[in-house]
């Protein structure tokens, strides 16, 4: 079952605080590590691939 919003908000805030503790290059490595950890744990390649696709939407600035 998907994380509820209150829990997701905890994740949001932990990520924001963590990113602020890191240098720009550390931030990217941290996020990539986290992505690999979570992708592995999800255990469903096609789902992960779909999320990688979705996350690329709307990135270009206006």
């Amino acid at each position: 079952m998907a994380l509820n919003f209150a829990d997701l908000e905890i994740v949001y805030e932990e990520l924001a605080r963590t990113l602020d503790r890191l240098s720009p290059s550390e931030r990217e490595v941290f996020l990539c590590k986290l992505s690999l950890l979570m992708a592995r744990d999800l255990g469903d390649l096609s789902r992960v691939q779909a999320m990688i696709q979705t996350a690329q939407n709307h990135l270009e600035t206006l």
Binding site: L8, L15, R17, L19, L62
Partner: protein, 555 residues
């Protein structure tokens, strides 16, 4: 600020009154008062009205000669309407304000969230109303001016507030000269830059958020319902945020984060205001004419006093706490402060409660402020992220929200319900419960007939609601005991409710409160639930209420 050539009070839609200082002979003749209220803004006037509601006279000081120059606070929430009603001042608000329930959030021009604030037929008022601050002050002033218990002294600056044995001595400077006046109690309602706070050597503590906002009111014939709009990263303010609110008299509040590359000074120049507002109006497809009414600039802060009480000086409203605008809790919180301090102070002054009842004011209202801080901090971090981490997460959430409805929740402005008190002595300790209602929370309202709500049944002071099927044997004795604690006590029984609203009304009430027959509730004068018991056990109720609200014999 207003457009070039206009005076500070030269409004498109509002005529400011012009007040003068009181008669010199009168002020020199009056040596003292029970309560002095410093600041005749909405919070100070509402405090005076609340005291008057309980028969307590006050003197209200303000250094200005008219109302606030612009319209800062414009959102009045349901709980404030209920408080205004209790003070007998709600009618003109109902007639003028625009009620609303819905907000829409846009990211890069696309709607990512439409939220409804909690609302149902059980409620007497809508969750939120928009009305200009001038009207708020005008309507409160009309009530204040009509009250024989309130003396208002305009053009009167309080320049000193020194402790005395029985209260405080205020030094006042008005157009006619200086004088002093004794007060048993002082309510400091003199706003964010409170002079009283400085005189007492107190400081607000907390955080400042980055990001500056410009608020501008414009008059235009714009066809859009009363729906709060928030625009993130729009064409007209890239990477930044815009809020748009509808107000009466064709006035629209355009509230926008200062664009990059403009200094504060540049941002508030009339040319830039017109440029920025014009761009925003084109962005929301408004093509018609518009007139600029007024503008200002602000930043978000979460600042509060450690203690809202300093001896006989009680801080209410912005003098005690500054909250970010993004939760519309500045004015509403101030009104709740005023009512909380007001009914407690009235009981103390009337000899119904020991002075220590005032000790519960700061914990209750400061608790509410910290709760506002928590939610407003979340909103502020979303509206104007303070650091790289919060910025990138905010952008991620907004970007996700274009594809995923669940992510829109991050953009919710969290305009929350009234705080539930737990600290202090004004809520009865409860090891038992009576349904889903919780002591310390606002009593839920319920529509009992076409023209009557539960709130209409409540008395001016405390109200005891006894939901036993038949009146219990000791009810009269209980009422007698409680009337000693509060002569204004109202007592409502199942029998009254069934007689007036039928069995259906009674069962609707039980359903709303989640109670079973037998439940007994004690409601405070500010509509909060003081205590709840599953059955009406008279001696328990009297003992607990006396301990919390009564004069202690050992004291």
């Amino acid at each position: 600020m207003r457009p070039a050539g206009k005076g500070a009070h030269d409004s498109l839609y509002f005529t400011y009154p012009a007040f003068t200082a009181p008669d010199r002979a009168h002020v020199l003749a009056r040596e003292g008062c029970k309560v002095a209220i410093v600041g005749a803004g909405p919070v100070g006037m509402f405090a005076a009205l609340t005291l008057a509601r309980f028969g307590i006279a006050s003197v209200l000081f303000d250094k200005k000669d008219t109302f606030n120059d612009g319209s800062r606070a414009i959102c009045v929430q349901r709980s404030s309407y209920q408080a205004l009603e209790r003070a007998g001042a709600v009618k003109p608000f109902i007639e003028k304000a625009y009620g609303w329930t819905m907000g829409r959030t846009f990211y890069r021009g696309e709607q990512i969230l439409e939220f409804e604030m909690p609302h149902s037929d059980s409620e007497k008022y809508l969750p939120m109303y928009n009305i200009q601050q001038q009207f708020i002050e005008q309507y409160l002033w009309d009530a204040v001016a009509a009250s024989p218990l309130i003396e208002t002294r305009w053009c009167s600056e309080v320049t000193g507030a020194d402790d005395t044995e029985s209260g405080a001595r205020l030094s006042v400077q008005d157009t006619n000269g200086r004088y002093q006046i004794e007060a048993e109690w002082v309510l400091a309602a003199d706003g964010a830059r409170s002079a009283i706070r400085s005189m007492r050597g107190l400081r607000l503590k907390g955080d400042n958020f980055p990001g500056r906002y410009v608020i501008a009111d414009v008059q235009m014939d714009h066809a859009y319902q009363t729906i709060r709009r928030a625009l993130f990263d729009s064409k007209s303010n890239p990477d930044k945020t815009i809020l748009i609110h509808r107000q009466p008299d064709n006035i629209w509040r355009i509230d926008y984060q200062m664009p990059d590359g403009q200094s504060e000074e540049e941002a508030i120049s009339e040319d830039n205001i017109r440029d920025n507002v014009g761009r925003i109006l084109r962005d929301i497809d408004y093509q018609g004419a518009w007139e600029l009414e007024w503008w200002s600039i602000y930043s978000a802060n979460t600042l509060a006093l450690d203690d809202y009480r300093d001896g006989r000086v009680i801080f209410i409203g912005d003098s005690a706490h500054i909250v970010p605008i993004f939760g519309v809790r500045g004015l509403n919180n101030g009104l709740a402060d005023a009512e909380n301090a007001g009914w407690k102070l009235a009981r103390v002054l009337k000899g119904l409660s020991d002075e220590r009842l005032m000790d519960s004011y700061s914990p209750e209202r400061r608790g509410a402020t910290l709760d506002v801080f928590e939610n407003a901090t979340k909103s502020a971090r979303f509206m104007t992220p303070p650091t790289k981490g919060w910025t990138v997460m905010r952008d991620a959430a907004l970007s996700l929200a274009l594809d995923h409805e669940w992510a829109g929740a991050f953009a919710n402005p969290r305009q929350m319900e009234p705080f539930t008190y737990t600290d202090g002595g004004a809520v009865l300790s409860h090891t038992e419960t009576a349904g889903s209602v919780k002591p310390g929370a606002v009593l839920p309202n319920e529509r009992l007939s076409d023209d009557a709500y539960l709130s209409d049944l409540l008395g001016n002071g405390f109200t005891l609601i006894v939901l036993e099927e038949k009146d219990p044997a000791g009810l009269d004795a209980l009422k007698a005991s409680l009337l000693g604690l509060d002569p204004e006590l109202e007592c409502i029984t199942s029998g009254h409710i069934r007689a007036r609203f039928g069995a259906a009304g009674l069962s609707r009430l039980h359903e709303r409160l989640g109670t079973q027959p037998g439940a007994t509730l004690l409601i405070r004068p500010d509509g909060y639930l003081a205590g709840a018991w599953p059955t009406c056990v008279a001696d328990v109720i009297v003992a607990q209420a006396t301990a919390a609200f009564g004069r202690k014999e050992t004291h």
